[in-house]
C-alpha cells in the first residue's frame, strides 16, 4: 500500500502541524514517509500544501496522485481536487470554506465546531482533521493517539487530552458518516522509535557539523536558510560559531578568513546569493583556501520563484569565477548521501585547498525523508597537508606556495607555529609575496591546475540501478535520485529494461570509471529540472555520447515518476 495525503490551505493555517503528526504516526510504526512541501513566497495566505506519502517500502519522491485531500481553504478544494484518485476522498469543513459537493467521497466535517465543543478550542480543528483522515485508513485510532500524546506531552496533560479527544471525535464522525468501509488498508504495526524523519537541509547541516564545521556565516535566502537555522540551533552544544553576515559577500569572505586561520568553515545560499560570492570563489581559488559552499537552487533568473525548485544553476557553478582554478561540485540525491558528501566536501576542500560547491535545491532541502540509519562513524576527517613547528627546520624556511608534483603546498595556521604565512589574491611567489614575473606566473598557474589530476581521481563513480545493461537509461543528478529510481522500477515492472545512471559527484568528471561501450546500445534519456538539460550537455561533452531524449521540467515543481514514465511510453 502506498498512499498520499495532501494537506492544503493558506500559510499560517497549520498545514505543517497536520502533516507532521500524520507522518510521525506512521514513522513510529515502521513505515516510510516522504513529505514534499509546496508553498508560496508569503507568510500568510496563498495556496500551499504538504503532501505526505506513506508506504511500507522506501519512498523518496512525491506522488502525482492524492488519496486523501484535507482542504483548509476553498482554493485547495477547488483546484487540488483534480489530483484525487478515483477512490480518493476530500475532507473539508463547509462551515469554514465556501465549497459544497454532493459527491459521496467529498466529506464535509465540522472541524471547527467539533474542535470548539470537544477540544475546547478552535485550534484543535487540526487534530479533528487528523482523526478524520485516519478514519479513512484501516489502521485504527490508537497509533495517532499515541503520537499526539508524545507530541504534546511537553505542553501538559490538558493539551494532550484536548488533542486526543478532538482526533477521536474527527475519527468517529467519519466512521459514522462514511457510507463505505475504510478505503485504504495499512498493515498494522507495533510502536517503534527507530526510523528518522529529516529534511535535506538537516542532513546537509548534520553532515557538515559532524565533519568538523566550526564557523558558519551566511545571509538568509530561501531555500538555504534552514541549514543555517539548524546549525545555529546546535551551535553552542557543538562549539560552532554562526554569524549572520551583512550580505553574501561578507559571508564567504568570513568563511575564507576562518578557514585561513584553521577552522573548517562553510556558507550556504541560493543562486542569487552565490552570484555575489563569485568574486570570493576566485579568491579562494587563488589563495588556495579551502571553503565549502552550499548552493540550494531555486528557479531563476533573478528572484525567480523563491520558494520553488529547479536544477538550473549547474552551468553557473561549474563556470563561476574569473580565471582558471580547480574546484569540485557535488550534488546529493538523498540524506545518507548528503551526510557522506558533506564529509567528502570538507576533506576535498582541505586536501586540495580549493572551493567545493555542494548543489542542492528547494525540493531536496525542504522535503522530509525517512531514514533508517545515519552512521557518523563512517565520517573521517582529513585536514590535508598541514605543518607544525616540528615539521619546520626553521621558521624562516616556510613557503606557503612551495612547488610540488601534486600541486599541493603545505599550510600552516597563523599562531600555531613560529613561522608566518603570506596569502595573496595577487599572483604571488612561493613565499606568497606579490610578483609580476612571467616565469613565476607560469609556475603558479601550473601548480594550482596540477591539483586537478589528484582531485579527479577522488571522484567516485555514478550510481547505476539496477546493475547490468539496459535499453533505457535515465540519466540524472542530485535531487532527482528518488524519483528516477521509482520511474525505473515502474518501467521494469511494465516489461521494459530500464536503468538509472545517477551522478552525485559531478565535477571534475572522472573518465577512469567510465566505459561508453555498454551505453552505446542504450537510449539515454536525461531527466532534469531545468529548460536546457544542463547536465545532459555536460555529460555529452565529457563522454562523447549523445543523449537521445530530454525530459525537462522548469515550472518550479518536482517531478513525479508518473510524469517521467508518461514521456517515454512510446519506448516501452
Amino acid at each position: 500500500m502506498d498512499i498520499s495525503i495532501r494537506v492544503g490551505g493558506e500559510a499560517g493555517q497549520g498545514i505543517q502541524s497536520i502533516s507532521s503528526i500524520i507522518a510521525k504516526t506512521f514513522v513510529r510504526h515502521d513505515f516510510y514517509v516522504f513529505i514534499n512541501q509546496d508553498f508560496a513566497s508569503r507568510i500568510r495566505g496563498g495556496h500551499n500544501f504538504d503532501q505526505v506519502r506513506i508506504s511500507k517500502h522506501p519512498v523518496n519522491a512525491a506522488s502525482g496522485n492524492v488519496d486523501i485531500l484535507i482542504s483548509l481553504d476553498k482554493e485547495t478544494a477547488r483546484h487540488d481536487i483534480d489530483c484525487l484518485t478515483d477512490n480518493g476522498f476530500l475532507l473539508f469543513d463547509e462551515d469554514e470554506i465556501d465549497f459544497t459537493s454532493d459527491d459521496p467521497n467529498h466529506l464535509s466535517i465540522p472541524f471547527a465546531q467539533i474542535a470548539s465543543t470537544v477540544g475546547k478550542s478552535k485550534i484543535m480543528a487540526n487534530s479533528v482533521a487528523i482523526g478524520a483522515a485516519l478514519a479513512l485508513i484501516d489502521f485504527g485510532l490508537q497509533p495517532v493517539l499515541d503520537c499526539l500524546q508524545e507530541q504534546f506531552q511537553p505542553k501538559g496533560s490538558e493539551t494532550v487530552e484536548n488533542n486526543q479527544k478532538s482526533a477521536t471525535a474527527g475519527y468517529d464522525f467519519v466512521r459514522q458518516n462514511l457510507k463505505a468501509k475504510p478505503a485504504f488498508k495499512m498493515p498494522s504495526a507495533k510502536w517503534v522509535r527507530e526510523k528518522m524523519l529529516l529534511t535535506g537541509s538537516q542532513a546537509i547541516a548534520l553532515g557538515a557539523m559532524a565533519s568538523g564545521l566550526k564557523l558558519y556565516s551566511g545571509y538568509p535566502m530561501s531555500p538555504a536558510t534552514a541549514i543555517m537555522e539548524f546549525v545555529a540551533s546546535q551551535a553552542d552544544r557543538y562549539h560552532i560559531i554562526v554569524e549572520q553576515a551583512e550580505d553574501e559577500i561578507a559571508a564567504i569572505n568570513m568563511v575564507i578568513g576562518a578557514s585561513f586561520a584553521g577552522a573548517r568553515a562553510m556558507t550556504a545560499t541560493s543562486g542569487g546569493g552565490f552570484c555575489l560570492m563569485v568574486e570570493a570563489l576566485s579568491l579562494a581559488g587563488m589563495t588556495e583556501t579551502p571553503v565549502v559552499i552550499i548552493v540550494a537552487q531555486r528557479p531563476g533568473p533573478s528572484t525567480g520563484l523563491p520558494t520553488r525548485t529547479e536544477q538550473g544553476d549547474l552551468n553557473f557553478v561549474l563556470h563561476a569565477g574569473h580565471g582558471d582554478f580547480p574546484r569540485a561540485v557535488l550534488a546529493p540525491g538523498h540524506p545518507e548521501q548528503a551526510l557522506y558528501l558533506m564529509s567528502k566536501a570538507f576533506n576535498l576542500a582541505d586536501k586540495y585547498q580549493i572551493p567545493v560547491i555542494v548543489l542542492s535545491d528547494q525540493h531536496f532541502n525542504d522535503a522530509y525523508f525517512t531514514v533508517d540509519e545515519l552512521d557518523f562513524r563512517n565520517i573521517a576527517i582529513d585536514r590535508g597537508y598541514i605543518l607544525t613547528d616540528q615539521d619546520l627546520p626553521s621558521p624562516h624556511e616556510y613557503q606557503r606556495y612551495a612547488a610540488s608534483e601534486s600541486g599541493i603546498s603545505p599550510r600552516i595556521f597563523p599562531g600555531n607555529t613560529k613561522a608566518v604565512v603570506y596569502a595573496d589574491s595577487d599572483e604571488h611567489s612561493p613565499e606568497g609575496h606579490i610578483t609580476e614575473s612571467a616565469a613565476v606566473r607560469n609556475q603558479m598557474v601550473r601548480k594550482r591546475m596540477q591539483k586537478f589530476e589528484g582531485l579527479r581521481r577522488e571522484i567516485d563513480p555514478p550510481e547505476i540501478y539496477p546493475a547490468g545493461e539496459a535499453e533505457i537509461v535515465l540519466l540524472g543528478w542530485g535531487s532527482t535520485h528518488g524519483v528516477i529510481k521509482e520511474a525505473v522500477d515502474k518501467l521494469n515492472q511494465n516489461g521494459a529494461t530500464a536503468q538509472m545512471l545517477h551522478y552525485s559527484e559531478l565535477f571534475p568528471f572522472n573518465h577512469d570509471h567510465f566505459s561508453t561501450k555498454a551505453l552505446r546500445k542504450s537510449k539515454i534519456i536525461a531527466v532534469e529540472n531545468n529548460y536546457t538539460g544542463q547536465f545532459a550537455d555536460f555529460f555529452s561533452e565529457k563522454t562523447g555520447l549523445s543523449v537521445d531524449r530530454r525530459i525537462l521540467k522548469y515550472d518550479g515543481r518536482p517531478f513525479t515518476s508518473h510524469e517521467i514514465v508518461n514521456q517515454i511510453k512510446d519506448l516501452i
Binding site: 527507530e194 528518522m196 524523519l197 538537516q202 557539523m209 559532524a210 565533519s211 564545521l213 566550526k214 564557523l215 556565516s217 546546535q234 553552542d236 557543538y238 562549539h239 560552532i240 560559531i241 553576515a245 551583512e246 550580505d247 559577500i249 561578507a250 569572505n253 568570513m254 575564507i256 578568513g257 576562518a258 578557514s259 585561513f260 586561520a261 584553521g262 577552522a263 573548517r264 568574486e279 570570493a280 579568491l283 589563495t287 531514514v371 557518523f376 562513524r377 565520517i379 576527517i381 621558521p395 595556521f413 597563523p414 599562531g415 600555531n416 607555529t417 613560529k418 613561522a419 608566518v420 604565512v421 603570506y422 596569502a423 595573496d424 589574491s425 595577487d426 613565499e431 609575496h433 606579490i434
Partner: protein, 286 residues
C-alpha cells in the same frame, strides 16, 4: 625581547618615493615593538590598493584579499582564533567605497580588530581617480568637472555607529600615530584609525604641507573627554582650517567574540571534532 628587526621583510617595497605609507609603516612597526607583539601571533589582513601592500613589508601573517573585503576576512580570522592580534589595513577607496557596508557592520559587531585606513582622498593604485573622501569639486580624470558629491566623513559614520574606538592620525606625526596604533591594538573591540596620508603622485591639494598647517592634537591645549559622544560628534565634524588628530571617541562594550560560548575555553581553530558525538543528535529526528 622583540625588536624592529623581528618585523623585517625582504619583500622589496613598491610605493612611490616620498609616499605617506612609509611613515605609516614605520609607526606601525614602532607600535608593534612597543607592545612586544610576536610576529607569528599577528595577522594583518588587507584589501587592494597601495595601503594593502603594507603587510608584505613586515614579518607577520598576511592575508591580502579582495578590494573592499578586508573586514569580513579579518572577522573570520578573529572568530576562528581570537588569541591572534588581527589588524585590518586598507585605503579610503577600499574601506569607505567598495567595503562601505562591511565597515558599518564591523563597527556594529565590535569585533576586536584594529582597522588602519590610509586615507589619501584619492585612488592611488589605479592612478588618480576620485575617492569617497575626495573633497567636493576635486578634479580627476574621472571627474573632470570636479567630484560631484561631498566627501564622506568616516569619523562621523563611526561615532554614529557607536564604534568603540575612533581615532584619526597623520602620517606626518609618526610618534603620535604609533601611540594611536598601540592604543587601538590594546583596545578590546573594533578600533578605527583613519590616517591622513598625503599622496605625492595624485593628490596635489591635500599635501604634507596642507595637512601640516591644519592638523592639531586633540588634547594638546585642553583636556578632551573621548567618552562623551556629543563631544565626539562635534570633533568629528571639524575639517578645513583646523583638523583634529587623536582619539575622538571611545566606549567599552562587549566584543562579538566574547558572546560565543563556543570559544569560552579555547579558539575554534584548536578544537577537534569527534564525528561520533553527533549520534546522540539523531534522537531529535526519531
Amino acid at each position: 625581547m622583540i625588536t624592529v628587526e623581528d618585523f623585517h621583510s625582504d619583500d622589496p617595497i613598491a610605493w612611490c618615493p616620498g609616499c605617506g605609507n612609509f611613515s605609516i609603516l614605520k609607526a606601525l612597526k614602532a607600535a608593534l615593538v612597543d607592545i612586544q607583539q610576536q610576529p607569528h601571533e599577528l595577522v594583518i589582513v588587507s584589501g587592494i590598493g597601495q595601503a594593502p601592500k603594507t603587510p608584505h613589508y613586515l614579518r607577520c601573517n598576511c592575508f591580502n584579499g579582495l578590494h573592499g573585503r578586508t573586514l569580513p576576512v579579518a572577522t573570520g580570522i578573529k572568530l576562528a582564533n581570537h588569541k591572534l592580534t588581527v589588524i585590518a589595513q586598507g585605503g579610503d577607496g577600499d574601506g569607505y567605497g567598495e567595503g562601505g557596508n562591511h565597515f558599518l557592520h564591523a563597527m556594529r559587531r565590535n569585533i576586536d580588530i584594529t582597522y588602519l585606513v590610509h586615507n589619501n582622498q584619492v585612488y592611488g593604485l589605479t592612478k588618480g581617480q576620485a575617492s569617497p573622501t575626495s573633497e567636493h569639486g576635486f578634479v580627476t580624470k574621472t571627474t573632470p568637472r570636479g567630484a560631484h558629491s561631498p566627501a564622506c566623513n568616516p569619523l562621523m559614520l563611526a561615532v554614529a555607529s557607536d564604534c568603540s574606538f575612533v581615532a584619526r592620525g597623520f602620517a606626518g606625526e609618526i610618534d603620535h600615530l604609533a601611540d594611536l596604533i598601540k592604543a587601538g591594538i590594546r583596545h578590546e573591540g573594533f578600533a578605527l584609525i583613519d590616517i591622513l596620508q598625503p599622496c605625492v603622485s595624485f593628490n596635489r591639494v591635500n599635501t604634507f604641507k596642507w595637512y601640516s598647517e591644519r592638523v592639531y592634537k586633540i588634547d594638546a591645549d585642553s583636556p578632551y573627554d573621548a567618552e562623551d559622544r556629543l563631544n565626539a560628534f562635534q570633533k568629528a565634524q571639524e575639517w578645513g582650517d583646523k583638523i583634529p588628530v587623536g582619539v575622538i571617541y571611545r566606549k567599552q562594550r562587549p566584543t562579538l567574540e566574547k558572546q560565543f560560548p563556543a570559544i569560552a575555553d579555547q579558539p575554534l581553530a584548536w578544537q577537534p571534532t569527534d564525528p561520533g558525538t553527533f549520534t546522540e543528535l539523531l534522537e531529535t529526528f526519531k
